[in-house]
Chain length 494, copies 2
């Protein structure tokens, strides 16, 4: 262990400390953890590298299982959408047309009807729903799609905002408004559960203001998370579409009383931006920190030896222990690479966010013990080899709980209430507390685009109207003076 | 059971018999099994419906597990490729440029550098490999991508040839030609294993002729399957790219002796076209037939009752038995829908290819038995409830074996040898044997585009030069008279 001790103290020079420049820290963590890199040759796009993609696969598995358990089925719709489709829903085209990538040539010929690359699929899916739905017996229709989408963004940032991103989009049709409302809320809750229970990232469940809702929706819900700099990140959205797209695409059904009616729809999505949220929720100045439930590698063994005879004994023990842990369903790596020091290996896995490093050297071998080093800053501990699977599982479970509790604490500490516009503005303007530091401000504000506009100058916005009012109920709007039922949450956002 | 008996005899009027029109039968099976439908509003595209997508998910799982077991990691690269990238490899651009979809406008502005939607990703991945690879220590680099691609096809057909399709594309870089060759062969073998062991579809492993190889490859391997009409379907390809793309994208590494060298690459892919292959290998005039290992639903219970008191007893037994089967890891559906007759339900699952239907009515309940009806045409059998999981597993295993053996037999019976061009032509011209009926013809043909061209008039081609020469060794080319080492396989193809 003495050999690895110095590694713990090496400052990772490739990662800018959070306190110095949060945005740069974020980018450094991603690059050093080898999650992704910018694809400069394709404007605003990124390459998701194997370690980043493995996290996405874990997220997909957790989400997909829950979608199926709530009765949804996966399907796949075309990437290309006739340009005319977008124009059928007025708000939708207005919202998305500035961001479209347009295919005008195909098979060597100019196209007579141009296609856009899907920025989202309400329109094309609406077209097929109209073909598939005839009667109330066909409802609810509960579909999910895993797909790539393209939105031409001016300012991009790895994972958070990229021209192309990966996501899932749920699209459902129901016989009544009530059922659609229930569905939108149910899927918001699924997202909140994955955020909190799997990503260890606490979220506020809320309703978007009229100014911030999805283009074409009647009502948008979101989960809002707080990053370590106090900024807000919209981590998932779920929309009640009402009958807007049903009317645009003629999605009608015969109801139980025999008359034709338009269906009620929802759509909901989360994307690879969740990985950005994950990074900014847990990571530190040494690099990535991953909650154990999402880590593609949950523990890595670092064998320590100098002489050849040590090597064989140590490696054989390490592989035997790794085998025991794998049998318990844990994701384990043995770093038996030659030509790298234990310190280098330690550093390598640390910046990639592996939750637990397990060192084993000749002295540990003699003592029938291992040294456990948790990634979240918990104490380095010597533990007996006996019962290692249980020790590791307990430690990972505790870490998962601790990460969520740390994040909850941070969110609580950085949420303040304010009772005047001046007070809100002062809080938003204050960046002295920490570099780029932000707060969630709970204030009474009317759900009116004119009110939302007030916060623009600080790149802040009304993040949501929380579903559960944890504050003090009704009050007077700090802008218009009108009575409003509860406080909203205002914050700077990604 | 008497209630369902008539259903067995109902001719599925919506499915054209194979003997009448094979192409139409294929389309009918897909539509009636609800696998997919044409997306007429987007030229040549299709919608993959839930049942079709569930089969794709099963295939993905089987492939992905094997890719990971052979050391590959998943990653994700941009959908859009700068148009100039394709031009860097001369054969590649020549092969793909007629099929490209081009984005010329994005974010409301004409683009100065146009993008093509990836038809395949050798170029964009080559660009990143050049950034990631420096030394022999970075090799081999073993990457796979699950993605959608677009190739603007004039004639499309559900699953077999669509403008957009889903696939995986493996891309690897190696320090030596030998390693790259081994990799290309290894992945061909993975494909053959999935085709035979999972899809129950026998394949011929072979090398493509120069005329048929991938645009930009040095050598292409394929697995070729025989459909029920005797036509060939290329089910997967694996390419040795040599140093072609390495030179085009400057992918160099420092080798062990310290000098710079270009890497040796491979690429390999299978796509949603495998679902088309599956349909045409096993299905019959009643609809889809799925090998149990790929069936999203392996067995469906059809409860039979008339009176209410029968209903409760039957359903409770059916759900209990379904629970037992699920515990064994089987994918089970209970069709307890109201308002549908058992005959209707039987028909419903039959045309969707569920391998086993399990009927249980009041008389079965009294006798502690169930009636099993295998989808592959095996005998209807009454079996005791006791030990049902074992009975069902055995039956599904046997069905899997039987389907492969049937397909092998068909391929053997429909493969003939020919020793003159005239003889080959006569066989290709003969469609009397069965509607659209085709044969694989083994003949001695030189690997030369001028020879390949001879078979075009019958829409036939040299499918491959088999890796394992199962025929009689060297012979004289039936076209040029030159000595060639072995027979090739010629057939009409999809």
């Amino acid at each position: 262990m003495s050999k690895t001790a110095p590694a713990n103290k090496i400052q990772n020079e490739k990662i800018t400390p959070r306190s110095q420049d949060f945005a740069r820290w974020y980018q450094d963590v991603i690059l050093q953890a080898d999650l992704a890199e910018a694809a400069e040759v394709v404007k605003g796009c990124m390459v998701i590298k194997p370690h980043g993609y493995a996290i996405w696969e874990r997220l997909q598995a957790e989400l997909d299982r829950r979608f199926k358990a709530t009765g949804h089925k996966n399907a796949y719709f075309p990437l290309l959408i006739p340009e005319s489709f977008l124009k059928r829903e007025a708000e939708h085209v207005e919202g998305f047309s500035p961001e479209l990538a347009v295919v005008t040539i195909a098979g060597g010929e100019p196209l007579t009807e141009r296609y856009v690359i899907r920025p989202t699929s309400e329109t094309i899916i609406g077209h097929f729903f109209a073909r598939w739905i005839n009667s109330w017996r066909d409802l609810p229709l509960l579909i999910n799609q895993w797909a790539n989408v393209v939105r031409w963004e001016l300012r991009t940032r790895l994972f958070l905002r990229t021209t192309e991103f990966l996501w899932q989009e749920g699209h459902t049709a129901h016989a009544s408004q009530e059922e659609a409302q229930e569905e939108a809320r149910r899927m918001l809750e699924v997202y909140a559960e994955v955020a909190e229970d799997v990503m260890a990232m606490p979220v506020i469940r809320g309703v978007k203001t009229q100014a911030e809702k999805f283009a074409g929706a009647v009502k948008s819900y979101s989960i809002e998370a707080m990053m370590q700099n106090g900024w807000a990140l919209q981590a998932g959205t779920s929309h009640e579409l009402g009958q807007n797209f049903a009317k645009a695409f003629e999605i009608k059904f015969q109801n139980k009383s025999g008359t034709l009616d338009y269906v009620w729809q929802t759509s909901w999505g989360v994307s690879t931006r969740l990985i950005g949220a994950l990074v900014m929720t847990h990571s530190d100045d040494k690099g990535l920190v991953l909650p154990p439930k999402l880590a593609p590698i949950q523990a890595a063994f670092i064998p320590i030896y100098r002489k050849d005879e040590e090597r064989n004994a140590v490696l054989s023990k390490v592989h035997a222990l790794a085998g025991e842990l794998k049998k318990e369903g844990l994701q384990i790596e043995v770093d038996d690479r030659e030509g790298f020091t234990p310190g280098h290996k330690f550093f390598h896995w640390e910046q990639r966010g592996v939750p637990l490093l397990i060192e084993l050297g000749p002295r540990d071998l003699a003592a029938d013990s291992v040294v456990l080093k948790p990634r979240d800053g918990g104490p380095k501990q010597t533990q007996p080899v006996e019962g290692l699977p249980e020790t590791v599982k307990k430690l990972l479970d505790d870490m998962q709980t601790q990460l969520l509790s740390n994040a909850r604490k941070r969110m609580a500490e950085n949420t303040v209430t304010a009772n005047s516009l001046q007070e809100v503005m002062a809080i938003l303007a204050d960046t002295t507390a920490e570099k780029g530091g932000g707060k969630f401000v709970a204030a009474h504000v009317r759900n009116d685009p004119a009110c939302d506009a007030k916060f623009k100058e600080f790149k802040a916005s009304v993040r949501c109207i929380p579903l559960k009012d944890e504050y003090d109920g009704p009050g007077d709007c700090i802008i218009t003076g009108e009575r409003v039922p509860q406080r909203v949450v205002i914050g700077k956002g990604y």
